[in-house]
């Protein structure tokens, strides 16, 4: 009998506490500021890969972490000129090498593959301020990961280290040039029987614009002497067409001409399919 009374007392107390808890939770939730749903992300589908980022510019979003949680990026160096360098003959000034505030830097190119920008890696960043590292990139994360760590922006560093055109960068640039040229190379006509046995080594001199600053120069030619005499000039013609037709080549501006080389002076091999 005594135990039954105690049981009922316990059940009653539990009910009272539950009701009180529900009431308290309802009152506290009603007072919370609910963050709106983030807007849906627009994705552009493109068919070519490019070093130039076409990712949408990162903007401050509601619900992002507070600004103080993100290390501020250095302001652009205002002491640098804000106008493009004087164009050299037959060159197109490249706006990406100027120091003008780049927000919005440039409209996304329709031919470029969306890639997360280095400086805009975290979408929750309130605003992306330009710096040299961000401009260098026009590059995607994958490309930068192949470079020396010194090329990556350091936390807290006011300016990144000077870019290094090391072997890996050279290989990546070479691969990028070959990839971009291949589209035009595929249009070249059959020359003649045996032309596939001739291989040219070509020196290319680029302007900053990504166009050739002078005609391609054959530095070596391999193959049978008769075939070289017959087809060498025609193959050279093809190289000239390819690198004119596919220009401008889109390559990272700060690797154009560094202390240890750059894509200004590039060597490629050229041959034709059988």
């Amino acid at each position: 009998m005594t135990s039954a009374r105690a049981e009922w007392t316990g059940v009653g107390a539990a009910l009272i506490f539950h009701v009180a808890l529900i009431a308290a939770l309802s009152l506290s939730l009603a007072k919370l500021d609910r963050d709106p749903e983030p807007p849906s992300m627009q994705v552009d589908l493109v068919d070519e890969v490019d070093f130039e980022s076409a990712a949408p510019q990162a903007v401050a979003e509601q619900g992002s972490p507070p600004p103080q949680e993100v290390e501020p990026l250095p302001e652009p160096d205002q002491s640098l000129p804000t106008t493009p360098p004087p164009p050299t003959p037959h060159e197109v000034p490249q706006p990406t090498i100027t120091k003008t505030p780049p927000l919005p830097r440039q409209p996304p190119r329709p031919v470029a593959k969306p890639q997360p920008r280095v400086a805009a890696k975290a979408p929750q960043r309130p605003a992306v301020k330009p710096d040299k590292a961000a401009r260098r990139a026009g590059l995607g994360d994958d490309f930068l990961s192949t470079l020396d760590d010194d090329l990556s922006p350091r936390a807290g560093a006011s300016k990144p280290a000077a870019p290094t055109f090391n072997a890996t960068a050279r290989a990546s640039i070479g691969s990028a040039i070959a990839t971009q040229a291949q589209r035009c190379a595929n249009r070249e006509p059959f020359i003649g029987e045996g032309a596939d046995q001739v291989r040219l080594t070509i020196n290319l001199q680029f302007a900053r614009s990504g166009r050739l600053s002078r005609p391609p120069r054959v530095t070596a030619m391999s193959g049978d002497a008769g075939l070289r005499a017959k087809y060498g000039e025609l193959l050279e013609d093809q190289v000239s067409r390819i690198f004119t037709d596919c220009a401008p080549f889109r390559l990272p501006p700060d690797l154009y001409d560094t202390d240890n080389g750059g894509w200004r002076d590039t060597t490629i091999n050229y041959r034709v399919k059988k």
């Binding site: 090391n166 072997a167 890996t168 050279r170 290989a171 070479g174 691969s175 040039i177 070959a178 040229a181 291949q182 190379a185 595929n186 249009r187 070249e188 006509p189 059959f190 020359i191 003649g192 029987e193 032309a195 596939d196 080594t201 005609p215 017959k230 087809y231 000039e233 025609l234 193959l235 013609d237 093809q238 190289v239 000239s240 067409r241 390819i242 004119t244 037709d245 060597t267 490629i268 091999n269 050229y270 041959r271 034709v272 399919k273 059988k274």
Partner: protein, 431 residues
């Protein structure tokens, strides 16, 4: 250890990259190249129509090679004098062509005209070649052929062949009374003229290496005889005086000798004689018919056909008759062999049900059949060795027409003649 291993791999990768030059591989698009051939401007004193006519011939020549699809001169804009050397590359690039033939016609003080010819790569935006030709106004077609040759050679790497002539047997009249004449024309069929009067039997005209003389088989006293003709004067003479039955003549590469067949006492053998006369030397003596001899371009060998083994087959021998050996083993019969100008191949007629034109390696083997008509025969090489000329007789018609087929394969192209034609021979390149 891991650090050391990583360092080693890194070093290896670095050295490999240093030597790894990126490669671009050109395509092998096998379509004819689109090339613009607008009407050429004419300077005061020259006919405006002439610039268009020259462009017409250039376009026609380029089309005949099978390597190009000329656009114009009709239907495309012309250009000014200065634009012949400095065209608006962007404009032409947008028209979908990859090359542009430009030029002009300008009268000279001596009564002749200058035909200037420029080839531009409109994609690369640069001039590829330029040539100028001074001709009498009546010879404007030759200037056009020369211009087309310059473009063909620059864009293909092959030797020119368009400024050439073709000699053939023009045939007229019913099959039962067919009249034949030796006819000479430009390689595009223009400037046709006849070198002999109509006869019932005229065959196998062949050019001398310089293109100034012909040998052919005619008849005299109802017997086949070989004649030598000077093209400029029209004078002709018997190759071998007397009553010898001679046929199937051909010049040696240096033009000093003529090799031919001589039928005597039921046997036909191959002989060689000086082109200006002399005593014939016998090169073969096997029983049977040895005929259709053709020198190799170095003059050291002769290919011919012979039935000494029971069927018509191809044989090669030294130019003195030594070392005779058979080179055709492919089944069927083989006839009318001709050594290619480069010396690496021999064209022939293969008889296996139908008659077809083929080529094989000079040492035999590597046979390829190039034509598929019912009766294709009588091959003759273009001087650059890229085409073989022959005559085709349609089944049941009895009428022969001329065709040229590229040795790389492709459809034979009809060579225009005003009447039936057989036994064609391509001239060397004109001077």
């Amino acid at each position: 250890m891991l650090i050391g291993l990583a360092f080693g791999l890194s070093t290896a990768a670095y050295s490999q990259d240093e030597n790894d030059i990126p490669e671009v591989v050109g395509g092998s698009v096998r379509t004819a190249q689109a090339i613009a051939v607008p009407a050429m401007p004419a300077a005061p004193g020259a006919s405006d129509a002439l610039g268009r006519q020259i462009a017409d011939v250039v376009a026609s020549d380029l089309r005949s090679t099978g390597a190009f699809t000329p656009i114009g001169p009709n239907g495309i804009p012309g250009y000014s004098f200065p634009e012949a050397t400095s065209p608006n590359y962007g404009q032409w690039r947008n028209s979908g062509v990859s090359a542009l033939v430009a030029g002009y016609v300008e009268p000279r003080g001596d009564g002749r005209i200058t035909v200037a010819c420029y080839l531009h790569d409109v994609t690369a935006g640069r001039q590829l070649t330029s040539q100028g030709f001074v001709v009498a106004p009546a010879d404007w077609r030759r200037a056009a052929h020369k211009c087309a040759d310059a473009i063909y050679a620059r864009l293909t790497g092959e030797q020119p062949f368009l400024d050439t002539r073709i000699v053939y047997v023009a045939e007229t009249g019913p099959k039962t009374n067919r009249m034949k004449r030796i006819a000479l024309m430009d390689s595009d069929g223009s400037n046709l003229r006849y070198l002999t009067p109509a006869k019932t039997a005229v065959t196998m005209p062949r050019f001398s290496p310089r293109g100034d003389r012909l040998v052919y088989t005619g008849t005299l006293a109802r017997k086949p005889r070989v004649f030598v003709v000077d093209i400029a004067s029209g004078r002709e003479r018997l190759l071998v005086p007397g009553g010898a039955i001679t046929f199937a003549p051909r010049f040696s590469p240096n033009g000093r000798d003529i090799v031919f067949s001589w039928a005597n006492n039921g046997n036909t053998d191959i002989y060689v004689v000086g082109a200006d006369g002399g005593s014939p030397r016998r090169l073969t003596s096997a029983p049977g018919v040895d005929t259709s001899p053709s020198f190799s371009p170095d003059g050291r060998q002769i290919v011919f056909e012979s039935d000494r083994g029971g069927t018509q087959q191809l044989y090669v021998m030294g130019s003195d008759g030594s070392g005779q050996r058979r080179i055709s083993f492919g089944g069927g019969r083989y006839a009318s062999p001709v050594w290619s100008p480069k010396g690496d191949q021999i064209a022939f007629t293969r008889i296996a049900g139908s008659f077809n034109i083929g080529v094989m390696n000079a040492s035999g083997g590597g046979m390829r059949i190039l034509s598929n008509g019912w009766q294709d025969e009588g091959p003759s090489w273009a001087p650059n060795g890229q085409f073989v000329l022959f005559h085709r007789t349609a089944q049941g018609s009895g009428n022969a027409t001329l065709y040229a087929v590229p040795i790389t394969g492709g459809q034979p192209r009809r060579i225009p003649t005003p009447q039936g034609g057989s036994d064609p021979s391509w001239s060397p390149l004109n001077n």
